[in-house]
């Protein structure tokens, strides 16, 4: 990829393959080699060979097949040279058998799609949370280590070490490359979807300034959810998550208009109509399957916002009811906190405050708790509002969120 002499079309074609097919090619290699690092190194080697060979002979009929075949041969070479060659006989035999069975000329569909297995490996709950995100972006998203480090505002070295440690744990602890069986599927699927949603939220929370130096994580998360849905088309929670992300992402232009704009003040004309239409259709399809889950319900709430002509004429009582259902499936205080905000519009800030207060022990260190409380107190014209804003500002980690809270606090006077 560093060969400056390669003509633009060949380099562009290779970059396109990295963008579109990295996860598919890498997961196929990892499945054969059972070794993340070796698979990655060999795919990188194959891409470098492609620059030379495709420039000379033109791109092959099946670039994906060519890259897989070349990467496997690179792996054979590396294993032969390995000091532990004797210990790797099994791996070596598998590769030789695969090499005899040529895929070089094969159609792309002939390369078995192993991405579903791989995403369950990368999102395994035995890995720590941040490593799951990083490994998914690297392995399935094809982001470079430097790009991922920038996404999390980390150093490149620290991120590289994190990835190596995670790959090492997968290998040594025996985390399998398998799609979990039916018993484990619901819990493990939530773990995978949780990783995709965290990736999305990393991008969603980034301020406009940060956005310029970050890869668009929202779009990356949406792309990975589309891959998941293509691999498991009838899974309502995947549809729900994709819908949820599309409906939230549809508001991006209105949300970042000279600082962070809260939902109630957004110019709804700036919302992305195509993303909303797709999101609404997905929510509807998912709910029809009659297997509700946390992402479908959150998407249903976003759908009500998307269909409302303005903030006042939103179906707040309906949203409050959906939150009850969500709390039943996922009993966690943040769900109640969000419900209290809906309740403040459905029944008024007094009722909302009564729902919020019992959450204090669980959420006293959580910025949105104080932001919601400050808002309710402000609307009730209570004296405690300024103090609540100060607490929310103190806990805020994003500059534009802080600016918004400071503006609201100034309005009190």
């Amino acid at each position: 990829m560093t060969d400056a002499a390669a003509p633009q079309p060949v380099r562009a074609a290779i970059e396109q393959i990295v963008r579109d097919d990295w996860g598919r090619l890498l997961s196929s290699l990892i499945r054969n080699l059972r070794d993340f690092q070796l698979a990655e190194d060999c795919l990188q080697d194959a891409l470098e060979s492609a620059l030379v060979h495709w420039q000379r002979n033109g791109p092959p009929a099946s670039p994906g097949g060519w890259l897989i075949q070349t990467a496997r041969r690179k792996a054979i070479d590396r294993i032969r040279r390995d000091v532990n060659f004797r210990a790797k006989q099994e791996q070596y035999a598998v590769l030789l058998a695969l090499d005899a069975d040529s895929v070089e000329a094969a159609e792309p569909e002939a390369i078995a799609d192993e991405r579903l297995r791989l995403i369950f490996t990368c999102c395994h709950p035995a890995l720590d949370r941040k490593s799951r995100l990083a490994l998914t972006l690297r392995t399935l998203g094809g982001l470079t280590t430097a790009e991922i480090a920038r996404c999390f505002l980390d150093g490149k070295e620290a991120m590289a070490q994190r990835l190596v440690r995670a790959q090492d744990k997968i290998r040594r602890a025996g985390i399998p490359y398998e799609v979990p069986d039916d018993d484990a599927w619901p819990a493990r699927l939530q773990s995978v979807l949780g990783v995709l949603y965290l990736i999305f939220n990393e991008g969603y929370a980034a301020s406009a300034g940060e956005r310029r130096i970050r890869v668009d994580l929202c779009e990356e998360a949406i792309r990975l959810a589309r891959v998941m849905l293509a691999l498991r088309p009838e899974e309502p929670e995947i549809e729900g998550l994709l819908a949820l992300m599309l409906l939230n992402h549809a508001r991006r232009a209105a949300r970042h208009a000279g600082g962070l704009v809260p939902l109630e003040r957004q110019d709804r004309a700036l919302w992305d109509g195509n993303a909303i239409r797709e999101g609404l259709a997905l929510v509807e399809a998912a709910l029809k399957r009659g297997r509700p889950g946390p992402y479908q319900l959150q998407a249903a709430i976003s759908a009500i916002h998307a269909e409302a002509p303005d903030h006042a004429r939103t179906g707040w009582p309906e949203i409050v009811l959906i939150y009850d259902e969500l709390y039943r499936l996922a009993p966690n205080p943040v769900v109640r906190l969000n419900q209290s905000v809906a309740l403040s519009y459905a029944e008024g800030p007094q009722a909302a405050l009564a729902m919020l207060e019992p959450l204090r022990p669980a959420l006293s260190g959580y910025q949105p708790f104080h932001a919601a409380r400050a808002d309710f107190l402000r609307r009730l014209q209570c004296t405690g509002a300024a103090e609540a804003y100060e607490e929310a500002i103190r806990l805020s980690q994003h500059a534009c969120e802080r600016q918004f809270l400071e503006m609201r606090m100034r309005e009190l006077r």
């Binding site: 709950p125 720590d128 744990k169 602890a173 025996g174 985390i175 399998p176």
Partner: protein, 116 residues
């Protein structure tokens, strides 16, 4: 009576792999193994992979909670062990979740070291 001897150390205090000190250390282990076998006291013994490979599970409300890392809290005490031969970590988690103590305590799962 059967006794379990649990081996604790800080990873950094071990002689580094590949040094002559490491060779001596390994030979001393080998000598201990031979004595135990000769005297007929050895039931089982294994070396474990490092804590970076550990996974801790708990069962709460019938749900298995899986976490990266070793078991760190100190108020619970080691009460026993199983050595399970499984295909992969998922299978080990599935069997470990059947240990009744997982419902109020925690089970740390560590892969046994394979040499060679």
């Amino acid at each position: 009576m059967k006794y379990i001897a649990l081996i604790y150390s800080a990873e950094a205090s071990e002689p580094p792999y590949g040094t002559p000190e490491f060779g001596t250390y390994l030979a001393e282990y080998q000598a201990a193994n031979e004595t135990y076998a000769r005297d007929g006291v050895l039931v089982a013994g294994e070396a474990l992979n490092g804590v970076s490979t550990a996974t801790t599970i708990r069962v709460r409300d019938g749900k298995v909670e899986t976490m990266d890392g070793p078991f760190a809290e100190t108020k619970e005490q080691l009460g026993g062990f199983y050595l399970l031969d499984c295909d992969n970590l998922d299978e080990a988690i599935r069997y470990a979740a059947m240990i009744p103590t997982a419902r109020h305590g925690a089970i740390e799962i560590r892969p046994v070291m394979s040499f060679g």
